[in-house]
Symmetry: C2
Subunit: 198 residues, 2 copies
DNA sequence: TTATTATTTATAACAGTGTTAGCAAAGGTA
DNA sequence: TACCTTTGCTAACACTGTTATAAATAATAA
């Protein structure tokens, strides 16, 4: 009796159509505009059908988060195998990570929970400008009193800010059995490395 | 005629009460649970009154974003003035930045648009574990072939990931008249610095 | 003080959202 | 053909941000 198999196959097809419809809607209108009703309309089924495939909306989005990490991992492995020495491997992987993020913005936004609503708003905010200038001038001073006097302050500032923001936001997302004391060490190590490098 | 003055004063009071009520609700239930109706209930006014003070919900949240940056700037200036040499200043500021983020989570979450819904979900995701391991082993190789053989791979990994994630997310939030070529330089410079430091 | 005008405030609606209970229709089995 | 199980839809619930409209209040003029 292939009936059960056919049913499973059909169910899988609907599940797949939910995901492809959702992904299309996300690409057209972004994550914030994705809704269960829109997916239901797209797949020409009623709303509750979706809930027989996914526990809730979050479960659908988690599926894409997994997809995103899978894709990223593949890209990173590829980059890794393109070099032999660890230093080159790491450089290639950093490049790959960067490219992935911007070639798959929808994935990356979801993976790291970037809301993106502040994007337009942040530009015209004097408080942000102050913050930039504040750090930048200090870095200028640092450069002036160092060997590498020709270093670009704006560039170094961005590195520094990224380092800080990265440390913080990673720690917020990934609280994986890692004591606070170690995060303190990470911060100190990173900052010391940055300064030594200037 | 002090009537106009009194009216302005009363209007300001209502405006202030909206913000304090909103802030209390955020601290109790988080940003995702904040709603206009809840604020209206708290201040014992009807919903449209809120819209006579703020254009929309986003405007209320922007007010807190500004507050957040103001607070951060104050903290950073204080940290800066606690030292004389740039290197020490920067170290103190990094520390202050870190402390601010975690002592004012609500602010930082809003300022950087961290959705925080992935927080619990991310922990039990094998894809994330793979990603961690992948980078970590490469860093282990890097350490093994370097002078500082006693360096902590887990620590270095976190530094590296933070650097990458920071670069990406900062660039996503802050697209301030900065050509892509410069971001490439930032990335290269940061990674080179990290490797040299290992 | 009363009538008129301007301001302030609330009710109720619109168009959405995620989620689910209850019922009708179709599919498979005896 | 009669029964039962599975499937799928309608409609509702409890929310959300936002706004048009109407009522109540306060300030001004007669």
């Amino acid at each position: 009796m292939g009936i059960l198999e056919r049913k499973l196959r059909q169910k899988e097809e609907v599940r797949e159509s939910i995901l492809t419809a959702a992904w299309q809607l996300v690409q057209e209108e972004g994550w914030s505009m994705l809704s269960i009703r829109k997916i239901a309309d797209a797949i020409e089924y009623s709303v509750p059908v979706i809930y027989s495939h996914f526990e809730n909306k979050d479960a659908i989005m988690q599926e894409f988060t997994k997809d995103g990490f899978r894709k990223l991992n593949t890209t990173l492995i590829q980059a890794q195998s393109s070099a032999n020495h660890p230093a080159e491997q790491l450089t290639a992987m950093a490049q790959a990570y960067w490219e992935f993020a911007f070639q798959n913005k929808e994935y990356y936004q979801l993976m790291y929970g970037l809301g993106m609503p502040t994007c337009e708003a942040a530009r015209q905010m004097p408080e942000l400008g102050n913050f930039v200038q504040l750090l930048q001038t200090t870095i200028k001073d640092l450069i002036a009193g160092s060997k590498a006097v020709d270093a670009d302050p704006f560039l170094k500032f961005h590195t520094f800010w990224s380092l800080l923001h990265g440390l913080v936001s990673i720690n917020m997302v990934d609280r994986t059995a890692c004591p606070d004391s170690l995060h303190q060490l990470v911060l100190q190590d990173a900052v010391r490395g940055f300064i030594k490098n200037v």
